[in-house]
């Protein structure tokens, strides 16, 4: 696939629109507008449900704008359920170490694929690509058994350590970026006697800061959202990341009865957990979107 980031939309300029074309244009914009509102509505509903009390939640027709709004739901839902600790776990035990390791290892390996010539390189690259296709379930069971025998259960080691060895997705992504750097730069340094590692650190890396940012963003996001990994490896509540914390709140809603403020609290916590990602996304939307367009990585 060609790596187009954000090229200008191909304009098709017309002198004037016929009435029929005008109608089509109007229709398209209407559809787009309706769809966009629909797309955003779940977010709106999550947020407004978070600041309702129970009577407002269980009212038909539904309350579109909660009045009064119960803003303290946010603090209550968060504070009463130990979410400060979960947030610390998510960020410092999981997301940050995983991100740091991924950025370093993927950059190294991708550079090896993109710019260093060595026998067997292309075969190795294809093997690397094939592993993207491998369903995670295939390696899940043996890895669990291995990590268990290492005594790594109830720690973040199984989720963090593998990042030190590169991840096929990010290697592929970084490689695409490295390929765009003129080879002459490295060759010139090579002839001058610079070592490969020196070239990598001093010549190449400074040019690829945006690419490193994309990898870091995506990896951080995956860790922040990851549910299955912690579900398998973390049982102790004091070690829970945010995802497991939210899942535990679900117990408040059961077939036998729903606790007071169950839905508002669930939505309040979900809103808070989603907010930093929203913020990050809108601050770095260009970076995200270029990343996805270049590699087709799913968020």
């Amino acid at each position: 696939m060609s790596a187009i980031a954000t090229p200008p939309a191909t304009p098709r300029r017309r002198a004037a629109l016929t009435p029929r074309e005008l109608l089509v244009e109007v229709l398209k914009y209407t559809v787009l507008l309706v769809l966009t509102v629909t797309w955003l509505f779940p977010f709106y509903w999550m947020f407004t449900s978070a600041i309702k009390d129970d009577p407002q939640v269980y009212t038909i027709p539904p309350v579109l704008i909660p009045n009064p709004a119960y803003w303290n739901n946010f603090a209550d839902a968060w504070g009463k359920n130990n979410f400060n600790l979960f947030a610390v776990n998510s960020v410092f035990l999981y997301a940050l170490p995983a991100t740091a390791l991924t950025v370093i290892s993927s950059a190294l390996v991708a550079y090896g694929f993109a710019r260093v010539r060595w026998p067997g390189r292309d075969i190795m690259f294809y093997i690397c690509l094939i592993t993207i296709m491998l369903p995670w379930q295939v390696t899940m069971v043996p890895l669990f058994i291995t990590f268990k025998s290492l005594g790594w259960l109830n720690s973040y080691l199984p989720l963090v350590v593998p990042n030190a060895f590169g991840s096929a997705f990010f290697i592929f992504m970084m490689r695409q970026f490295f390929m765009t750097i003129p080879e002459e730069l490295a060759d010139a340094a090579r002839i001058d006697g610079a070592g490969e590692f020196g070239i990598f650190v001093r010549v190449i890396l400074p040019l690829t800061v945006p690419a490193l940012a994309v990898v870091a963003l995506f990896r951080f996001l995956w860790a922040w959202n990851d549910f299955l990994g912690p579900l398998i490896y973390i049982n102790e509540q004091d070690l829970y990341p945010l995802a497991l914390g939210i899942n535990r709140l679900r117990a408040n809603i059961s077939a036998t009865g729903t606790n007071a403020l169950a839905y508002p609290y669930l939505m309040a916590v979900s809103t808070i957990v989603v907010s930093p990602i929203l913020l990050l996304f809108f601050m770095a939307q260009r970076t995200f979107i270029e990343g996805i367009s270049v590699t087709g990585i799913k968020g």
């Binding site: 009212t59 026998p119 093997i127 690397c128 296709m133 996805i292």
Partner: protein, 314 residues
């Protein structure tokens, strides 16, 4: 340093040659983490899981070799077939639907207009924040009595089903949820659409082709490689759905949303049937490989590579 004999093209001068040799050596150093990772976290476990699938292993005692028993059990297990049915139905509906919706959105967004970046971001947003919080949100939206979806349906005179507790509607509910995440497919299509030279449309317009014909004869063929890419990604993704099924419906009601990944999870971590779980994983792997192969094979019929025609490489 022996391996550099086979390294790269013949060297032109001794100096050049030593540069090449050193470069190859460094290549291996750069590659070391990947090679180690491949062995430790991919190749090793893949082989281990194949071996495990021929054993009975409950974590507490040593694995016991049972030959093909796990696979035989699977064939006789009603729930396995149910899981296979659920995953197949989900893939067959959600993947094509996602492709059509993704392309449709991409076409709508492929224009010069104010705030197009904002629109793109809005559609991509749900894929960024996927996770438990969002799954909880959908549980709430689909709530039979107070969920906004049924309330809205009520406004237009339709009595909505008890989505998540109704055997017939639970899976469709999850498919609708998946459509909300169509944004990444859209962005990939969008990149493809923007790669189509505008002159083609201009020429077609001069020949009197309408927008629909242009779409059919220019757009579709010229983005077929993107469609192909999205199709492969979609299949792989659909067969691995886990979080939504686990959080929104817990596989219920009455196994109506028991995806293969969930079935596997239950056997591995609820019943501690590690051997059987490994066997399920291998069946999934084989299904993914066969489907991907099928798509690759069929691609010769419907994927058009412009680079091939022009003799360029991508």
């Amino acid at each position: 340093m022996i391996e550099s004999n086979r390294a790269a093209p013949p060297a032109t001068s001794p100096r050049r040659r030593s540069v090449r040799q050193r470069e190859a050596l460094h290549g291996y150093v750069f590659m070391a983490p990947a090679i180690l990772g491949l062995l430790l976290f991919t190749l090793g476990p893949v082989i281990a899981s194949l071996a495990l699938s021929f054993t009975d292993y409950g974590l507490l005692t040593d694995p016991e070799w049972v030959g093909l028993e796990n696979y035989r059990d699977m064939i006789g297990e009603e729930l396995f077939w149910q899981a296979l049915r659920v995953s197949t139905t989900y893939s067959l509906v959600s993947v094509p639907l996602g492709l059509v919706a993704g392309l449709g959105l991409a076409v709508l967004l492929n224009r010069r207009m104010r705030g197009v970046t904002l629109f793109r971001s809005i559609y991509y947003l749900p894929t960024v924040i996927s996770g438990v919080g969002v799954a909880m949100l959908w549980r709430w939206l689909f709530n039979a009595e107070f969920g906004i979806i049924n309330v809205l349906l009520g406004f237009i005179g339709i009595e909505g089903p008890a989505w998540l507790t109704n055997e017939r509607w639970a899976l469709p509910a999850l498919i609708i949820t998946s459509l909300w995440g169509v944004g990444s497919t859209t962005l990939i299509f969008l990149a493809g659409l923007q790669g189509i030279p505008g002159e083609l449309y201009e020429a077609a317009e001069m020949d009197g082709a309408g927008q629909l014909r242009q779409f059919r004869h220019i757009t579709l063929p010229l983005i077929s490689h993107v469609t192909f890419f999205n199709l492969v990604l979609g299949i792989i993704g659909a067969l691995q759905v886990f979080t939504d099924a686990f959080v929104i419906t817990r596989g219920g009601p009455n196994h109506a949303t028991l995806f293969l990944a969930l079935y596997l999870y239950n056997h591995a971590f609820k019943y501690l049937n590690m051997g059987y779980a490994a066997a399920i994983a291998w069946v999934m792997f084989i299904i993914v490989m066969l489907l991907t192969l099928l798509v690759f094979r069929s691609s010769a019929l419907w994927v058009f590579y412009e680079q091939e025609r022009q003799g360029k490489n991508a």
